[in-house]
């Protein structure tokens, strides 16, 4: 079993992308006006990093043993056996290593974006995480 796809939410939602880029530029401008170029660069970098899953394409691979997410040259992988809970949303599913909801879910878990393949992804997730 292997399911592979690339999710790029920013391309699918140009309106939200324009809004996000506008907010980042505004924050950088404010930082530049109050703290200078270094602060502006820092603000921009932090904001870009915080919404990287939305802005940049991510390649997901679901196979028998693990789930992998590769973005900007960095790969994160978790074995299915390490994952204990999933929480499905409209456009994403959170795969968490914690049995109960935790504030560490976003850090230690994997957020998987769908790309018009929600049914296939959820079928595998339900099969692997019981």
């Amino acid at each position: 079993m292997r399911l592979e796809w690339v999710a790029h939410p920013a391309r699918a939602r140009p309106g939200r992308t324009a809004l996000a880029v506008g907010v980042i530029q505004l924050a950088a401008l404010l930082a530049y006006a109050t703290g200078g170029a270094w602060l502006a660069a820092l603000a921009e970098a932090v904001l870009l990093a915080s919404i990287a899953p939305f802005l940049f394409p991510t390649r997901y691979v679901l196979c028998d043993e693990r789930v992998c997410a590769r973005r900007l040259g960095v790969t994160r992988a978790r074995r299915w056996s390490e994952l204990r809970r999933f929480q499905a949303g409209a456009e994403t599913v959170l795969l968490s290593p914690f049995a109960r909801p935790s504030w560490l879910d976003r850090t230690r878990g994997l957020v998987v974006f769908f790309a018009a393949n929600e049914r296939d992804v959820m079928a595998i997730v339900r099969d692997k995480i019981r």
Partner: protein, 87 residues
């Protein structure tokens, strides 16, 4: 630095993880370990620097095992995963 963990090191990590969970410090420990993960090798070198002083107080063998373990890049991630599994 990127060599695999030995069974003894794996066992040591499991013991640490179990103790952390027993103390109910799992969430703060995971948060802290995630924060310092990129600095594991620097941490091991700091441990090496302080070894003569620390060895006077704590068992030197355990200290050296921990330092050698910390030199391996994947050790912190392995510890975090063991804490998650022990929760």
């Amino acid at each position: 630095m990127s060599e695999a963990l030995t069974p003894e090191e794996d066992e040591l990590l499991a013991k640490i993880a179990t103790r952390v969970v027993e103390l109910r410090m799992d969430a703060p420990a995971i948060f802290l370990l995630e924060s310092v993960k990129p600095l594991n090798f620097v941490g091991s070198q700091a441990m090496l620097f302080f070894q003569p002083i620390v060895s006077a107080i704590f068992p030197a063998a355990l200290y050296q095992r921990l330092r050698a373990l910390l030199e391996k890049r994947q050790s912190i991630e392995a510890l975090i995963r063991k804490i998650e599994a022990a929760r």
